[in-house]
């Protein structure tokens, strides 16, 4: 028992005492250059120092102690003190590091021995970026990973991650494992991450089979290492503002154009000249000229602090991390506060550390505040400038007699969500005999989210002189998501001469349960006490729901290396999922990969400029069951289909969804060929070709509307993602001490639906069509504008008849649009089948792709005399965006219009690109290439300048390092896109959006 107690005293820095101490002095160099800032430490002890500006150090150690020389840019070296008191050490640049170890499934692997396509993110580059989410670290850093930040909203600014394209219609999110536990990438603080490995091809990901079809992201958090207690504190403060907001019309232009549209639609001018003059005068609150973007969006602050403590001794290593983020949002009423902690403890027992216990605890509390009607707030930010915000009496004015979301938010219509996440894991590993070990991991993750969404009691003034009273109400929702994991592994390693074997066998099971409850009341006593009991009890309602899911798997892996030259790996996995009916539940998924390190062959030895050349090939299959329908084994009656009779409510049920009981696993099959090269000690090149085919696609199969049920899932067809990806890194240190590292990566990919076993879904603006990319934009192709010359009118087209009084008839040889009586100035569409009539069934086609053809990133880091500068550019090419409604479509709802509409078609200025303005939806609401935009962009994602204060000065203050820096995220963007931001949510088709943010921060990082 005493022994166990002592384990828990790990907080005390553990000191090892040695006899016969003597002073050691020395110099650390790289080539001939002295290396300042190298940590020199006695192994298994807390003693250590840092080299000065001349690379020199002094330390007290005993003969036989091992000295560890550590620097971020160089390989760590361990040297045993010989007792003569002098130790000159030369370090080798980490760029030559062919012995780098990479985290792979259930273990680590020497990078040189990898046979699969694994991308690694160097978190050292990220330490001072104001990443509010680790997904942002993957943007442009790993070839083949498309990380898209869909929004700048605090608490919801995570990246959408696609590894090697979208291969499924379901959830395309890769499996994220945080220290081996499947989880949400948002639940780990970016600063706590030691490394990120991205398993891209089937062979690397295969060991995670049932959830790995979209690729796997392995996140390893920081662990303690033996040595003295290390304390790190980082802090940054900054300011955020929208990257870009569309240019819109002012009140005079808006009303003038509205009148024109009204006349074009057969009505009369709505705004008399005297009224327009009132808008122009800017002196009447009821005749305003408001840029609503500026009302809803503004600058916001961000601050982040993090403290980590780590250390350990021979038997116990520990790391504790604590972080706090405090971010205001650029949208009124938004903010996010997150506090998180993480602790990793490893304890070793028995002789030769044969038994290891590890405990990992992590948790976070995220408090998110946002408008209760968030979508509507974003929508009202696009309002036309003529809608009054407040009247002279200070009352909020309703828009069109409806709402005033800004006023409501200000009065308290906000939703507060508290999300608690807790993750705990225990793991034990026992080395049975040399090379053979057994490992059991048990963990669980519980997420609880409590939302309190309030609508304040607000009296709105209507332009008609009446008032509208908005009754207060509160919706409270609790969600609990529990996930348990059990994994048992048996690992065996054996080296026999030139033969190196690695065997792994395992079993895992996962269970998920999800429950929610909600409750509602209206008519609250006031707008500040948002607790259910203060609402009117006669209005109360409540609801609840529950889902669960079970997964079970058996898996094995064989890894064989001969002479460090010939590499082979095989995986097999058998997976079961409760999502499918009993007969279709199990799937078996194999994979194989091989590598050949050519540079180790004798015939290559003369080519000294090649440090490493390796060819890789892999093939494998993975299963996917990740769809949002939990139960496909039985028909389902949905409750809540209620009705009232004679003043009483009756519960009702109905079949609202169709079920497909034959549904089974979607299979992603992937072929990969790759090459890794290290050249001339400075260049590192990786390139891959891949062909990923997802078969038996899980897709909601459209069923006729006459069935009046929502569509079931079907194994619907096959999608191909084919592409190449490459990354080149160049590192060098010049004689002057100037260090440079540059990385460029790019990937090109083609996504194509190869085959459909169910009907194509030819809907606009997005369709599922064989031969096209998944969810391509689909609609008519714009073919210019109908001009006056395309028509005849009364009196043999008498030119003297005023334009507005002409009765236009289309000339017989001009293409007409069915459903639509064209007038001069309307959009003309391409007649694809040549029958002179454009109609929905014959003349729609693919008009755009929402996935980029090319994604690329360029990273450059420079260091000189304590200064460091890094820049990160990221771009996509060959991608389209669809912007519709709001500012894009003329007079959509109450929205303003983009200022490009000033160049619209008029009889005097017959544009061939922008149509005339009308008010009716019949002409404006046709999905066509007119609303397509080029969404390619090149963005200065990050630029940072830092300065590290000389360790010599710092050491007097007991500080081992201190760096201060300034950083700009999303500094500028080059794009032709007219909407909010080209980097918008996949599947977004409306113009309404939460803008991206530019973040400017100043920060410091200090180590003790």
């Amino acid at each position: 028992m005493k022994r166990f107690l002592s384990i828990f005293l790990f907080l005390l820095p553990y000191m090892t005492l040695s006899a016969q101490q003597s002073k050691i002095t020395g110099k650390v160099v790289s080539g001939t250059d002295p290396l300042p800032g190298v940590t020199v430490r006695i192994k298994h002890s807390s003693q250590g120092t840092v080299t000065d500006s001349k690379g020199q150090f002094t330390l007290t150690a005993a003969a036989g102690d091992t000295l560890v020389f550590n620097h971020i840019s160089f390989l760590t070296r361990e040297i045993v003190a010989n007792g003569n008191g002098i130790m000159n050490v030369s370090l080798v640049s980490a760029s030559q590091n062919v012995n780098e170890v990479v985290v792979v499934g259930y273990g680590t692997q020497k990078k040189a021995n990898l046979t699969g396509a694994v991308g690694v993110v160097k978190m050292t580059d990220m330490e001072s970026r104001p990443l509010t989410n680790p997904g942002q670290a993957l943007q442009g850093t790993v070839a083949g990973v498309y990380a898209l930040q869909s929004s700048g909203k605090p608490g919801d600014d995570g990246a959408v991650l696609d590894i090697r394209g979208v291969g499924t219609f379901g959830d395309n999110t890769p499996l994220v494992l945080i220290d081996g536990f499947p989880g949400n990438i948002n639940d780990v603080n970016a600063n706590d991450i030691q490394s990120i490995s991205v398993l891209k091809d089937a062979a690397s990901a295969a060991i995670y089979g049932n959830r790995a079809a979209n690729g796997v992201i392995l996140i390893t958090t920081k662990k303690g290492v033996a040595g003295k207690l290390r304390v790190n504190y980082t802090v940054y403060y900054g300011s955020q503002n929208p990257t870009r907001l569309p240019h819109v019309l002012d009140a005079v232009d808006y009303t003038t154009l509205y009148n024109e549209a009204s006349v074009n639609s057969g009505g009369t001018a709505k705004y008399a000249d005297s009224v327009i003059a009132k808008y122009a005068a800017h002196n009447d609150l009821m005749y305003p000229d408001i840029n609503y973007f500026k009302v809803y969006y503004g600058n916001a602050n961000i601050q982040n602090q993090r403290l980590s403590i780590s250390g350990g001794n021979d038997n116990v290593n520990y790391a504790f991390m604590l972080g706090r983020l405090n971010q205001d949002g650029i949208l009124v009423g938004t903010s996010y506060k997150k506090t998180d902690f993480r602790s990793n403890i490893d304890a070793y027992f028995l002789k030769n550390k044969r038994l290891r216990f590890s405990g990992k605890l992590a948790g976070n509390l995220g408090v998110k505040n946002e408008p209760t009607d968030l979508w509507n707030a974003e929508w009202y930010a696009t309002l036309a400038p003529i809608h009054p915000l407040r009247n002279a009496a200070g009352q909020w004015v309703s828009v069109n007699g409806e709402r005033n979301y800004y006023g409501e938010i200000k009065e308290g219509s906000t939703a507060l969500t508290k999300r608690y996440n807790f993750n705990g894991q225990v793991e034990a590993e026992y080395k049975i005999i040399d090379g053979l070990s057994a490992q059991v991991t048990y963990g669980y993750n519980v997420m609880n989210s409590k939302a309190n969404a309030f609508h304040a009691n607000v009296t709105l003034y209507n332009e008609s002189g009446t008032t509208t009273n908005l009754v207060s109400n509160l919706n409270v929702t609790n969600e609990t998501d529990v996930q348990t994991l059990l994994t048992s592994l048996l690992k065996y390693n054996k080296v026999l001469g030139k033969h190196e074997f690695n065997l792994l066998g395992g079993y895992s099971e996962e269970e998920f349960t999800y429950d929610w409850e909600s409750a509602y009341r209206s008519g609250f006593v006031n707008n500040t006490q948002r607790v259910l009991n203060l609402g009117d009890p006669s209005t109360q309602t409540n609801n609840a729901g529950s889902y669960d899911l079970g997964l079970r798997s058996y898996f094995g892996r064989l890894n064989y290396v001969f002479d460090g030259k010939y590499l082979f790996e095989a995986n097999i996995r058998r997976d079961g999922s409760s999502r499918f009916a009993k007969e279709h539940r199990w799937g078996t998924f194999p994979s194989f990969s091989a590598g050949w390190v050519i540079s180790k062959e004798n015939f290559m030895q003369n080519l000294t400029w090649i440090d490493l050349l390796k060819l890789r090939a892999s093939w494998g299959r993975l299963g996917n069951q990740n769809i949002n329908n939990y139960y496909n084994g039985s028909d389902i009656l949905t409750s809540g289909q209620n009705y009232s009779l004679g003043g009483s409510l009756y519960s009702g049920v109905a079949i609202t969804a169709m079920t497909n009981k034959d549904l089974t696993w979607e299979t992603a099959q992937q072929l990969d060929f790759g090459v890794d090269m290290y050249l001339k000690k400075n260049f590192e090149i990786t390139a891959d070709y891949f062909d990923k085919r997802t078969k038996d696609l899980l897709l909601t199969q459209s069923i006729p509307l006459t069935m009046a049920q929502s569509a079931p899932y079907a194994n619907a067809g096959e999608v191909q993602n084919k592409g190449i990806e490459a990354a080149i890194t160049y590192r060098t240190t010049f004689a002057s001490g100037f260090k440079l590292r540059a990385t460029i990566n790019a990937s090109h990919m083609v996504n194509k639906i190869v085959r459909m076993d169910v009907a194509e879904q030819l809907t606009s603006p997005k369709a599922i069509k064989t031969g096209a990319a998944i969810n391509s934009f689909y609609g008519y192709k714009m073919d210019g504008i109908y001009q006056i010359s395309d028509f005849t009118w009364q009196n043999n087209s008498d030119q003297s008849i005023p334009y507005a009084q002409r009765d236009y008839t289309l000339k017989p040889d001009v293409v007409k649009v069915s459903n639509y009586t064209a007038q001069p100035g309307d959009i003309k569409y391409k007649d694809l089948n040549g029958d002179k009539v454009v109609d929905m069934n014959n003349d729609r086609t693919i008009i755009g792709n929402q996935f980029p053809k090319l994604t690329y990133g360029f990273n450059i880091n420079m260091e000189y005399k304590g200064f460091d500068l890094s820049m990160f550019l990221q771009g996509v090419q060959g991608i389209q965006g669809y912007t519709y409604y709001e500012i894009a479509t003329p007079f959509s709802g109450f929205a303003n219009m983009g200022d490009w509409w000033l160049k619209r078609w008029t009889p005097d200025h017959p544009s061939n690109t922008l149509p005339r303005l009308t008010l009716d939806g019949a002409r404006n609401n046709i999905h066509s290439s007119f609303y397509m935009e080029n969404a390619s962009y090149l963005r200065m994602k990050n630029i940072e300048l830092g300065y590290s204060i000389s360790p010599k000065i710092l050491s007097r203050a007991g500080i081992s390092s201190l760096r201060i820096y300034g950083n700009v995220q999303n500094a500028f963007t080059i794009t032709k896109f007219k909407g909010f931001d080209p980097e918008q949510t996949v599947d977004q088709t409306r113009a309404q959006a939460f803008p991206q943010v530019r973040i400017m921060t100043m920060g410091a990082s200090v180590n003790f």
Binding site: T468, L705, T706, M707, Y820, S892, A922
Partner: protein
């Protein structure tokens, strides 16, 4: 204890935390399965309620008042609400109104078919089965009658279809009508004449008979329609409610005139968004056309255009049919707690609906006013119309119309229009009576479709609002009509709506579409 035992124990303990035997055998936790459901009367009733649930509007353009906006009675300038393009005869295959109606009616049909299949196997008494099946058939007939009015030929589905049978094609309208009449006959035979307490609102014998009359009338089966309407009268279950204005109040729900309605209660089952309170009293989009206002007669029974009417176009609301003031918020009239001043209101036409507007309601999003779908006055006017169209000039026609007029103290047909009128004269009288009696009850547009009267599709006029601005002295107001919208009948499209593109995209068997689409 030896280390090896400790280790073994630890691994064993960790292992038993997992290893659930039934890990993969999951069944829905919060939902029910039809295979195990229909066990007793209360469960069958829940499934029946599920069909009634589907008669509520499913989308903005399927609310009853939108069908007045589509007609010459009204106008909604917000194109997003879906009725504007319909009124302008610019409907296309992607328009919202047709797809909303299509989906709504087929939801009722699909749920009724599922119910009829499942209840046949349920372990409940025959009495319960017969009564509930009759309600399901009534609702199926109700949905099909609506479908053929708007779409003509539609797929006739009377059983639960497997996915392989789901790609249906269209059935001739006449064949669908036969099924509708059979459903209404079956329903009428089994349903009770009335309900009490918390069953009020369920389909009755009278409702089945009334909808049968309506389906026959809408499909030009004049003699049968006249008889079916007479059967409702002979049932003796209904009479006209004494006060026309309060007939539509929440306080007088389920009154003697109501034959079938959509029932609402506050909070848990209030009108779907946008409720009529929101649409008619709050949003400035509910326009009443000058044409409708002008169509109300003077209290002396004469149209305003008659030289002897005594109509003053600058005091236009004096001595008018009481139904005008009861149905419309006229300039200068009370509008909730204030006076309606068109110049400061945003409706372009200068008048708003009053009927169903729930003016002064505390929460416009929580309106629980029932929507009457069929009332007894319609039976009188349907029988009158059926008789007229069948060639009769029987005095009963006069009596039927007079009964409707008498409630609002309007003079009889005989005393104003005279006796011995021709079919054409009587037709005009009954059509006019329908318009003023049923304004804002969602029937006008369907009437236009079945009458196929092109003259009813014309530009929309309203009052020039700017001239109705001084609240202190309405006497100084100038009433001048101005055009607010162009409407042109498109003969190529005619009188049918298109089958929605959303369904054609999935099911090509629905082609060809109706002419003009």
């Amino acid at each position: 204890m030896k280390n090896i035992y400790k280790i073994t124990l630890f691994f064993f303990a960790l292992s038993i935390l997992g290893c659930k035997k039934d890990l993969l055998d999951k069944t829905p936790k919060d939902r029910l399965s039809p295979a195990t459901f229909f066990q007793n009367e209360s469960q069958c009733k829940q499934a029946l309620i599920g069909i009634y649930n589907a008669i509520q509007p499913n989308a903005t353009p399927s609310h009853f008042y939108q069908f007045d906006y589509m007609s010459d009675n009204g106008y909604c300038q917000d194109s997003w609400q879906g009725s504007r393009e319909v009124g302008e005869w610019l409907t296309n295959t992607s328009s919202w109104a047709p797809s909303a109606k299509w989906t709504m009616d087929f939801t009722i049909i699909s749920r009724a078919n599922e119910f009829l299949q499942d209840i046949s196997k349920a372990t409940v008494s025959e009495t319960v089965k017969t009564q509930m099946s009759a309600e399901a058939k009534f609702l199926r007939g109700y949905a099909y009658a609506d479908l053929i009015t708007y779409f003509g030929d539609v797929p006739l589905i009377t059983k639960v279809l497997a996915l392989s049978e789901a790609y249906v094609s269209r059935t001739a309208k006449s064949e669908v009508l036969t099924q509708i009449i059979a459903d209404f006959n079956d329903a009428a035979a089994a349903l009770p004449v009335s309900y009490s307490g918390t069953d009020v609102g369920r389909a009755t014998k009278g409702a089945a008979m009334a909808y049968k009359a309506k389906a026959l009338l809408y499909n030009q089966k004049w003699a049968e329609a006249a008889q079916a309407a007479k059967d409702v009268i002979d049932l003796g279950a209904y009479s006209l409610f004494s006060n026309y204005e309060t007939l539509f109040d929440e306080a007088h729900e389920n009154n003697v005139e109501v034959i079938f309605d959509i029932q609402y209660i506050p909070t848990t089952q209030s009108q779907p968004w946008p409720s009529s309170a929101l649409s008619l009293s709050s949003w400035p989009t509910a326009n009443v056309t000058a044409d409708l206002i002008n169509s109300y007669y003077m209290t002396n029974g004469l149209p305003i255009t008659d030289a002897n009417a005594g109509y003053n176009d600058q005091d236009p609301f004096k001595n008018r049919d009481p139904r005008l003031a009861a149905s419309v918020v006229l300039p200068g009239s009370s509008f909730g707690s204030s006076t309606f001043i068109p110049a400061v209101d945003q409706v372009p036409c200068g008048a708003r609906p009053r009927k169903y507007a729930a003016l002064g309601i505390a929460d416009v999003n929580n309106c629980s006013l029932n929507t009457i779908l069929m009332r007894y006055a319609d039976i009188y006017l349907m029988r009158a119309e059926a008789l007229i169209e069948s060639g009769s000039t029987d005095p009963e026609i006069y009596t039927l119309i007079d009964k409707v007029r008498a409630r609002v103290n309007m003079p009889t047909v005989e005393s104003v229009e005279g006796i011995g009128l021709t079919q054409a004269q009587l037709r005009n009288i009954v059509r006019h009576e329908r318009r003023v009696e049923f304004y804002n009850e969602g029937t006008r547009y369907a009437d236009m479709l079945r009458w196929q009267d092109k003259s009813l599709v014309h530009d929309v006029y309203g009052y020039d609002k700017a001239l109705l601005s001084n609240p202190a002295s309405p006497a100084t107001w100038t009433f001048k009509q101005v055009k607010v919208e162009t409407r042109t009948f498109d003969a190529s499209k005619g009188w049918l709506w298109p089958i929605p593109q959303a369904d054609i995209d999935i099911n090509k068997n629905l082609l060809p579409n109706n002419p003009g689409y």
